[in-house]
């Protein structure tokens, strides 16, 4: 049976169809999951896609965290299910305390929409298990609040536990330690600011996102 990926849609999410299409390109099935749903049964992996959940009012992710579906996402994550938050989804995971730290406004207050070169730092996570440590990936960023920050203690934990998943080769937004993506301790919950689903075909300028998304599917099928 094909792997089925749930793509969570909050009011204001706008990258859900890109995520669905990228998953289907890789031979998986994908289903949109509305924020008011309370169950993720039948799904093998979850994507929290980009956009502006609840208008990003208050702070990006601050209100989405209280959506009914987030309890189910937390349970799914606690049971080891693969969860990846892309861009706004990363912000939601941080606000929901499924990942440590926070995403602040970019250094220089510039909205950034451009390709970024990433370096794969850890291959422990569910989105990098098919990648190679040190591998460079060309994947676009599209954000205003993408500057990752956390306490010094948290940063030490992230480094010591091999939880920095990807770094920017040239830091575009002021992120602490050039961090573009991190994982939880188990590696099954990942958040990253760059958009791998927008780098899923050479027609889009890069297919480098496929290695991350195919890793997610590999993790999902292992169960």
């Amino acid at each position: 049976m094909a792997t089925t990926v749930g793509v969570v849609v909050f009011p204001g999410t706008n990258c859900e169809y890109d995520a669905v299409q990228a998953m289907e390109t890789l031979g998986a099935q994908a289903r949109l999951v509305f924020h008011s749903e309370t169950s993720l049964s039948g799904l093998d992996a979850i994507i929290l896609p980009g956009g502006f959940a609840h208008g990003d009012y208050l702070r990006p992710g601050a209100l989405a965290r209280f959506s009914p579906i987030m309890d189910a996402v937390s349970r799914f994550a606690a049971e080891g299910g693969p969860v990846v938050g892309i861009c706004n989804g990363f912000q939601v995971l941080c606000e929901a305390n499924l990942l440590p730290g926070a995403l602040q406004k970019n250094r220089g207050l510039t909205f950034l929409c451009k390709p970024a070169t990433l370096e794969v730092v850890s291959t422990r996570s569910v989105i990098t298990r098919n990648a190679t440590r040190g591998q460079h990936l060309n994947i676009p960023i599209n954000h205003f609040s993408g500057s990752y920050t956390c306490s010094i203690e948290t940063l030490r934990e992230l480094r010591d536990q091999d939880r920095v998943v990807v770094r920017y080769v040239e830091n575009p937004n002021g992120s602490l330690d050039d961090i573009a993506g991190i994982s939880n301790e188990a590696g099954n919950v990942v958040g990253l600011m760059p958009h791998p689903e927008r780098a899923s075909s050479e027609l889009l300028g890069s297919a480098d996102g496929l290695v991350l998304l195919s890793s997610l599917l590999a993790a999902a099928s292992v169960g």
Binding site: E95, Q104, N106, G108, T149
Partner: protein, 83 residues
């Protein structure tokens, strides 16, 4: 009793404040001399019902911690006044 809780949310010391830094640089360019520092924050006025001032204060502190501020990067200052 009804109270007004004024909740000021600001960045913790040491957390970068790019908006404050931008305003700080802009003010001298507009001719305002002697600007030493600018920090940004947000202010929420929440009207709430509570049995007394202490209850109103703890109610406001709880909602500030849970939603209005992100404790990773922000702190809040709460002033409660009877209406």
């Amino acid at each position: 009793m009804r109270y007004n809780a004024r909740v000021e949310v600001r960045l913790r010391p040491g957390i970068a404040d790019p908006e404050g830094a931008t305003i700080e640089r802009a003010l001298p360019a507009l001719g305002f001399d002697g600007i030493a520092s600018v920090k940004t924050g947000r202010c929420f006025n929440v009207e709430l019902d509570a049995s007394d001032l202490e209850a109103a204060r703890s109610h406001a502190a709880a909602l500030a911690d849970r939603l209005l501020a992100n404790p990773v990067i922000e702190e809040s200052i709460i002033e409660v006044t009877p209406l």
